[in-house]
C-alpha cells in the first residue's frame, strides 16, 4: 500500500512538472515576426492646421542623421536619395508644388534618420528642446527661430527610426517660430533598408488623407 502511494506521488509530481513546463511556455509574439510585421508607421498632425491652405513646399537636399542624441550630421546615401525622392513625389501627388527653398516655400519637409537614440527618451509637451542643429533653422533661412512641435511629439529610444516632419514656413514670420504641422515616424526592423522606403512612405500618406492641397 505504501509503495503504491509513493508511485502515485511520484507520477503526480512528474505529470505536474511536465504540464507546468509545457504549457507555461506561452506563445512568443516575437519569434515568428517578420521585419514587415515588426514595423509601425506613426503619423501625427496639428489638429488646428488647415492643410489645404498651403500651396508650395521645399524638401531638404540631404537627410539629418541623429545619433545618440548628439549633434546631427547630414548625409546623402542612396537610401537618403530614395527617401527624398519618395517623399517629394508623395507631396506632389497630394497637390503641393515643389519650389526651390529660395522661392519662399510655404511648407518645409525635414527628413531625419534616428539612430539608437537612447539618451533622448522623453516626452516634451509643446516645446522641442533636443538636438539643436539638426532641425536647422538656418537651412530654411530663419536664423534665431526656435522649433516648436505640438504636444504629441515623442522621441523613442534604443532603435533606428525615420522621421518626416512638415514645418509651417508660411506663418513663421507672424508666429516667430517654426511649427511642425505633420510628422511621420517609421519604427521597427528594416526602416533603414531602402527596399522598404516606398511601402513606408505610401503607408504614411495613405493614413493621412487630410494632408492635401
Amino acid at each position: 500500500m505504501k509503495k503504491r502511494r509513493l508511485w502515485f506521488m511520484m507520477s503526480a509530481a512528474v505529470a505536474f512538472t511536465t504540464l507546468v513546463s509545457l504549457n507555461s511556455c506561452r506563445k512568443d509574439p516575437l519569434n515568428d515576426m517578420t521585419d514587415e510585421e515588426s514595423r509601425i508607421y506613426i503619423t501625427n498632425r496639428d489638429s488646428t492646421a488647415n492643410f489645404s491652405s498651403y500651396a508650395t513646399f521645399s524638401i531638404v537636399d540631404s537627410v539629418a542623421v541623429a545619433s545618440n542624441g548628439s549633434e546631427a550630421k547630414r548625409a546623402l546615401t542612396d537610401y537618403d536619395k530614395q527617401l527624398i525622392a519618395a517623399v517629394k513625389s508623395a507631396m506632389q501627388a497630394r497637390g503641393y508644388t515643389l519650389v526651390d527653398k529660395a522661392a519662399k516655400p510655404q511648407l518645409a519637409v525635414n527628413l531625419t534618420r534616428i539612430d539608437d537614440t537612447y539618451s533622448s527618451s522623453y516626452y516634451d509637451p509643446g516645446y522641442w528642446s533636443g538636438w539643436g542643429g539638426y532641425y536647422d533653422p538656418f537651412y530654411w533661412g530663419y536664423p534665431g527661430y526656435g522649433y516648436y512641435f505640438p504636444a504629441y511629439y515623442t522621441v523613442y529610444y534604443k532603435e533606428r527610426a525615420v522621421s518626416i516632419d512638415l514645418v509651417d514656413l508660411k506663418n513663421a514670420q507672424a508666429d516667430k517660430q517654426l511649427n511642425a504641422i505633420w510628422n511621420a515616424m517609421f519604427r521597427g526592423s528594416g526602416v533603414w533598408d531602402s527596399n522598404n522606403i516606398n511601402n513606408m512612405v505610401t503607408a504614411a500618406f495613405a493614413q493621412s488623407a487630410y494632408l492635401k492641397k
Binding site: R5, F8, M9, A12, A13, A15, F16, L19, V20, L22, N23, S24, R26, K27, P29, L30, M33, E36, E37, S38, R39, I40, Y41, I42, T43, N44, R45, S47, P150, A151, Y152, N183, R187, G188, S189, A203, A204, Q207, S208
Partner: protein, 206 residues
C-alpha cells in the same frame, strides 16, 4: 518559479498529513487537467482565438462524503495576431500589425458539492471558485509592446464529473466545464469572461 515552488511545498505538506478515515477513498485529492478556453465579450474582441495552451491543477479535501473544499490554480494563454491595420490615436494614426496576448493565472479557493455518494460509478459535481487572477496583458504594435500586469477578482463556477477507475479506486477520470469571470479592465477589455473545458485526472492521495 516561486509559484511552482510554493505548490510543491503545499503538496508535499499535504502528503505528509495523515487523515484517519473510513471513507471509500482518502479525503485529500489532487487533480491536474489540460484546459481549453474560449473567450467572450471584450476579451474575444481583443483576442478571439480559442486558447489551447492551458492547464489547471487543484487540491481538495472532502469534509464529508459529498462536500469538499480546496484551492485551484492554472494557466491560460490567449493570443491573436491581427493583420496590418490603421489605428487612430489622440493626435493621428498608427499603422501596425497587432499581436494581442493575455496570460491568466488564477488563484482560487473552491467549494465543491458532489451529487452522489463516493461509491457511485459516475460522480457528478458542481463547484464554485472565488479568488484572484493574475492578468498579464501584452499588446504588441509591431515589435513594440504595451504591457500591464495586475490582479483582478475572479469567480469561477464549474460543473463536472469524476469517474473512478474501478470501485473505491483512488484514481478518477475528471472532465469539467467552467465559466470564468474576472473584473478586469484595461484598454479595450472591459471585463474578463471565458468558458473553459478541462480534462484530466484526480488522485485521492491521503
Amino acid at each position: 518559479m516561486l509559484r511552482l515552488k510554493n505548490w510543491i511545498l503545499i503538496i508535499a505538506g499535504c502528503l505528509g498529513m495523515q487523515a484517519a478515515s473510513a471513507q471509500v477513498r482518502p479525503p485529500l485529492s489532487f487533480n491536474i487537467n489540460y484546459s481549453i478556453a474560449q473567450p467572450f465579450g471584450s476579451v474575444k474582441d481583443y483576442s478571439d482565438k480559442t486558447s489551447f495552451r492551458g492547464w489547471q491543477a487543484g487540491l481538495q479535501y472532502m469534509i464529508s462524503d459529498q462536500i469538499g473544499v480546496g484551492i485551484k490554480s492554472g494557466f491560460q494563454d490567449f493570443y491573436e495576431r491581427a493583420p496590418r491595420a490603421v489605428y487612430p490615436t489622440k493626435g493621428g494614426d498608427i499603422s501596425a500589425v497587432q499581436t494581442r496576448t493575455l496570460q491568466v493565472i488564477p488563484a482560487l479557493a473552491t467549494v465543491q458539492y458532489q451529487f452522489t455518494k463516493p461509491d457511485a460509478i459516475v460522480i457528478p459535481y458542481a463547484s464554485l471558485g472565488i479568488g484572484a487572477a493574475n492578468m498579464n496583458y501584452e499588446k504588441y504594435w509591431g515589435e513594440f509592446v504595451d504591457k500591464d500586469n495586475s490582479w483582478a477578482f475572479m469567480v469561477s463556477p464549474e460543473l463536472g464529473i469524476n469517474i473512478p477507475f474501478g470501485k473505491a479506486s483512488p484514481l478518477l477520470f475528471n472532465a469539467s466545464i467552467e465559466y470564468n469571470y474576472a473584473s478586469y479592465k484595461l484598454a479595450e477589455i472591459t471585463n474578463f469572461s471565458t468558458l473553459q473545458g478541462n480534462i484530466g485526472l484526480r488522485w485521492h492521495i491521503n
